[in-house]
Amino acid sequence: MTLLETYVFRNSGKILAYALLISLSIFVLFPLLFSLSQSFMTNQEVNRWPPPMIPTEPTLDSYRQLFTQPDLKLPIWLRNSLFAAAAYTTAVIVICAPAAYAFARLRFPGNNLLFGLLLLTIMIPGQVTLIPNFLLMRDLKFLDTFHALIWPGAANVFGVFLLRQFFMQIPRELEEAAVLDGASYWGRFRHVILPLSTNALTALGIFVFLAHYNDLLWPFVVTNSLEMRTLPVGLQVLNSSYAGQYRPLVLAGAVFATVPIVVVYIIFQRRIIKGVALTGMGGR
């Protein structure tokens, strides 16, 4: 065996891994970069055949238009989306974490039954509850307010499930020490469990945040005024109205909407992995 062959043989796993990851990365990145590139093209250029990959004369016109078209209130929509998603995420964590603790650690009549019931509701399509909850929003006078974007999804069963799995992994001994120090149930939860759960809470927070940030149908139905729209709703209107003729503009809007969450994800991605690892979703 030559040196090269030995090297290849020893590292065949790695080489295979690289080959796979690089081809997958191309599969993932090509559509993204192509679309990003299109957002710098003119309306005429995107309709050309063969399709140009790189703009011949890159232009920022679409981005400029994004902020000067009077009907595109992207800053307000972004603010709405970020605020609603952040408030929603906070609500989910505040509401779900104690419930998950009760399911994971406390014995009470009906524990398993109730938890089973929760899991069953995961199977119910969101469309089922859309109209009843819409009518409720109307009766509560929540339509076109942030309340409608925050509260209806706050009882997040997935969140309870994830955190329960995680809390069950935490060694009981840690809690028992607190018990000896005289901690109440709340004290144990607050001072033992929660500090150990930052990664899991972050992971849940990110997932919940992303799901809410990208949600379309519910905010579309419950918000009316221009000032209350979220970014996906605004983009969808932009898309359905302009995409045929102003593709670069719509893509520029998409880039604008996507950059913030990509940044958030990159910052937190290590914690997300740890969080997921510890929730037991990945097996034990």
């Binding site: 065949s12 891994a17 559509p31 679309s35 399709p51 409720l136 898309n239 992995i273």
Partner: protein, 315 residues
């Protein structure tokens, strides 16, 4: 479900002195009370926005319920009878099942392969992890926008690239046989990032000693994967496929944005059909019957999955 709450006595010692609740309750009663208090905020929201809404929806499905009409008409099981005889419903069910099967299978395979590759001892792990997760950060509207263009018959870059291989333009979204696979491909691209993270976590939780021992026995990489990684990932695979089936059965945005249900009804999915019934035909009662029936179908498929993969897995 691992109920390992067998070690109460220790805590019992400290309890009486420190309890904030000066009620004459036994320890277990106090624990139960605490549990209910912990659960209260969640249950309030759960009862209002999930349980009440589901009951309302089921109730609506027994009416000819039109959102703008002042009074609603009770029709008993008529909506369900109509549904059973509605060929469009069955087309939508068939399309949804095919879509779900392709997407869940494809997503699981791609996610697992990516996870195995990215957990090898290589450089740039986190870079790959970020790149591969990126599509998952997009909203469905953006995904549709991107892929409609890639798949376009006349102007699509995919057909352009294929033309170098001498392949004639393919009508991806306009051919009945291709439209569901094309939507499925789009969805795999969009969605494999999340299961990938879960698989990464699962692989990382497998003790290294197992691999070491197997290597000493002379196992090669493939055997390590087949005899150690895969069996130990069983619960993870179950989780990924079950959640995948539940969410992909509810596919809506892709056909809504990319094909409008076409060609013909070639990409009608259940939720797409529901949307048409509820908001175009103004028939919320019938729409509710569709939604309830879909929930039943999802439950059946989930049960089947637990049977097939989940025999020894507990949650």
């Amino acid at each position: 479900m691992s109920e390992t709450t067998g070690t109460v006595p220790k805590s019992a010692v400290a309890r009486p002195a420190t309890s904030r609740l000066h009620l004459p309750l036994s320890l277990s009663a106090r624990e139960a009370l605490a549990a209910y208090l912990f659960l209260t905020p969640f249950m309030v929201f759960f009862l209002i926005f999930v349980v009440r809404a589901v009951i309302t929806a089921v109730n609506m499905s027994f009416y000819d319920w039109q959102i703008l009409r002042p009074g609603q008409l009770y029709v008993g099981l008529d909506n369900y009878v109509e549904l059973f005889n509605d060929y469009v419903w069955w087309i939508a069910v068939k399309n949804t099942i095919v879509f779900t099967a392709l997407t869940v299978f494809g997503t699981t395979v791609v996610a697992l392969a990516a996870a195995v590759a990215v957990t090898q001892p290589i450089r740039g792990q986190s870079v790959f992890r970020v790149i591969l997760y990126m599509p998952t950060l997009l909203s469905v509207g953006v995904v549709g926008l991107i892929w409609v263009w890639l798949l376009s018959t006349q102007f699509g870059i995919i057909n352009y690239l294929l033309s170098f291989l001498g392949i004639r333009p393919i009508n991806w979204l306009g051919d009945e046989a291709l439209v569901i696979p094309a939507l499925s491909l789009t969805t795999i691209w969009w969605g494999f990032g999340f299961p990938m993270l879960i698989f990464i976590a699962g692989i990382q939780s497998i003790p290294d000693q197992l691999y070491e021992a197997a290597r000493i026995d002379g196992a090669n990489g493939w055997q390590l994967f087949w005899y150690i990684t895969l069996p130990l990932l069983r619960p993870t695979i179950l989780f990924v496929t079950v959640t995948g089936v539940i969410s992909h059965f509810q596919v809506f945005g892709q056909p809504f944005i990319m094909t409008g249900g076409g060609p013909g009804r070639g990409s009608y999915t259940v939720i797409y059909y529901l949307f048409e019934i509820a908001w175009r035909a103004f028939r919320m009662g019938y729409g509710s019957a569709v939604a309830v029936s879909l929930a039943v179908i999802i439950a059946i498929f989930t049960a089947i999955q637990f049977r097939l993969i989940g025999r020894r897995v507990e949650y």
